[in-house]
């Protein structure tokens, strides 16, 4: 079967992701009836929708056959793609980070920061991260018995951690948060720069580009500073990073900062907020972790699977290929749907249940293969430390109103998680 226009439109609709159920139902239907099929939403070029866990792994594993950078890495309308290419001298990308690169560049650029983000090297940061986490738990306690966990804790804690790792001063954190939300929440009138629904493509792309330019202006100054006076921070590593013995290109360096400063906290924020939302709705899961903190790593993996903050990436076939018995032609565009892979009934028992003791839990939320999330070890450590500190003091939690999600179809998660709680 082919994918109906209705389903095709749903899987690219930012409002469907804000709704949650609507997009879950669409992907559940696709996994049942058309797990690997072509969709053509109104205004988009056709693309394959890869919904099954196994097929996502297969595409991600073959990173020479399925490229990131040949076409847009995020699902984009024909009109928006045309506009970006006009602005960027033919390139479909506004930035050129690891996400938009393929080998040999991807490997060379990844190597610049990979070492500092390995578990053994992150250990040195744990004591400081714990101090930051305690500060946020204290602040939560100061709220009394009610807060918006997303806005008061989850958005701010990972932001503070990554900005310290990166070397951005605390006073600039609100600016970084706002720019990140404007970037990923471009379709959400509560978060984007214009404060209204974006219906005009030119306006949407102009708005995105102005956010990117603001980031670049900010990090340009940081680069100059760190080249003159290197410090023990990630910004200094990027500023002084060499590719084949030469300094990084300007666009590539700016893009490196942008991805570290945005993906480095927003995804962890979404996962943390979504975890507490889920725990507030499942008191028996909360009680399990409370009684046995050794379940915290399980809570982390399940919340990453549950929220799956990166909703998709696109790949482009570099040659004719076969995937799950289907013929993929050279140049075909493919959407890897991570929320779908993480609800795949063939891999996860009761995939729509939040279970902190789910074993195994081999989700694809960080991707797979050469492009697997560079910050995954930092994200896990940040969440572990926060949950260790919070569960030591949190006695109960329940929802205090209806949580909401961002209106976005790429990187998104909860926007507000109002809770009532007891702490000691």
């Amino acid at each position: 079967m082919t994918i109906s226009t209705d389903i095709a439109n749903t899987i690219v609709d930012p409002k469907a992701y804000a709704d949650g159920d609507r997009v879950d139902q669409a992907f559940a239907q696709l996994r049942r009836e058309a797990p690997l099929e072509v969709a053509q939403p109104d205004g988009f070029d056709p693309f394959w929708v890869v919904t099954r866990h196994a097929d996502i792994l297969e595409v991600e594993r073959q990173n020479e056959l399925f490229h990131n950078g040949d076409r847009a890495t995020v699902v984009t309308t024909i009109e928006a793609d045309k506009k970006v290419r006009e602005m960027m001298g033919g390139s479909p990308h506004l930035v050129r980070s690891l996400v938009q690169m393929d080998n040999p560049d991807h490997f060379a650029y990844r190597k610049v920061t990979q070492g500092s983000l390995l578990p053994q090297n992150l250990r040195a940061l744990e004591a400081r991260i714990r101090e930051i986490a305690r500060g946020f738990v204290d602040r939560m306690a100061e709220h009394g018995d009610r807060c918006d966990f997303a806005r008061d804790v989850a958005f701010l804690y990972p932001l503070h951690v990554i900005m310290e790792v990166l070397g951005v001063p605390e006073s600039d954190e609100p600016r970084m948060l706002k720019l990140t939300q404007e970037l990923f929440g471009n379709a959400d009138p509560d978060l984007n720069r214009s404060g209204k629904s974006v219906t005009d493509v030119n306006e949407g792309i102009d708005s995105l580009q102005s956010v990117v330019m603001d980031f670049m202006m900010y990090f340009n100054a940081i680069t100059e500073d760190r080249r003159a006076k290197p410090r023990e921070d990630l910004a200094s590593i990027i500023a002084n990073g060499k590719i084949n013995g030469e300094p990084m290109g300007h666009l590539e360096a700016m893009s490196y900062y942008i991805i570290a400063a945005t993906a480095g906290h927003d995804t962890t924020s979404s996962t943390t907020a979504g975890a507490l939302w889920a725990l507030a709705e499942t008191p028996e899961q909360f009680a399990k972790v409370k009684a046995d903190p050794s379940l915290i790593p399980g809570l982390i993996e399940e919340s990453i699977r549950w929220v799956t903050p990166v909703k998709h990436f696109m790949r482009t076939a570099t040659a004719d290929a076969e995937l799950a018995g289907r013929k993929i032609a050279k140049g075909d565009w493919m959407m890897l749907s991570y929320p779908s892979g993480n609800r795949d009934e063939a891999v996860f028992e009761d995939p729509f249940k939040f279970r902190v003791d789910r074993t195994p839990n081999k989700h694809v939320a960080f991707g797979y293969g050469a492009h697997i999330c560079l910050g995954q070890h930092l994200a896990r450590m940040e969440m572990r430390v926060l949950w260790e500190e919070l569960f030591a003091r949190l006695d109960s939690v329940e929802l205090d109103g209806q949580p909401t999600r961002m209106v976005a179809n790429f990187v998104c998660g909860p926007k507000s998680v109002p809770i009532r709680f007891k702490m000691h």
Binding site: L118, P119, Q120, G369, I372, Q376, H377
Partner: protein, 59 residues
């Protein structure tokens, strides 16, 4: 004669750590399973990188 000390191996792509002493029971590797005894066709359980692209590290 004392037993060979346990070693630790790390995936170059994603940073996954295989510690011979702990093994990885979830992946069917019992505690004490030696790197040399893991088949060459084995791949990193986190990212699919081949066994040949692991490095021995000291923690």
């Amino acid at each position: 004669m004392s037993a060979e000390p346990f070693k630790v191996w790390q995936c170059r792509t994603c940073g996954y750590i295989y510690d011979e002493e702990q093994g990885d029971p979830g992946e069917g590797l019992a505690p004490g399973a030696r790197w040399a005894d893991i088949p060459a066709s084995w791949i990193c359980p986190m990212c699919g990188t081949p066994k040949s692209d692991f490095d021995m590290i000291e923690l």
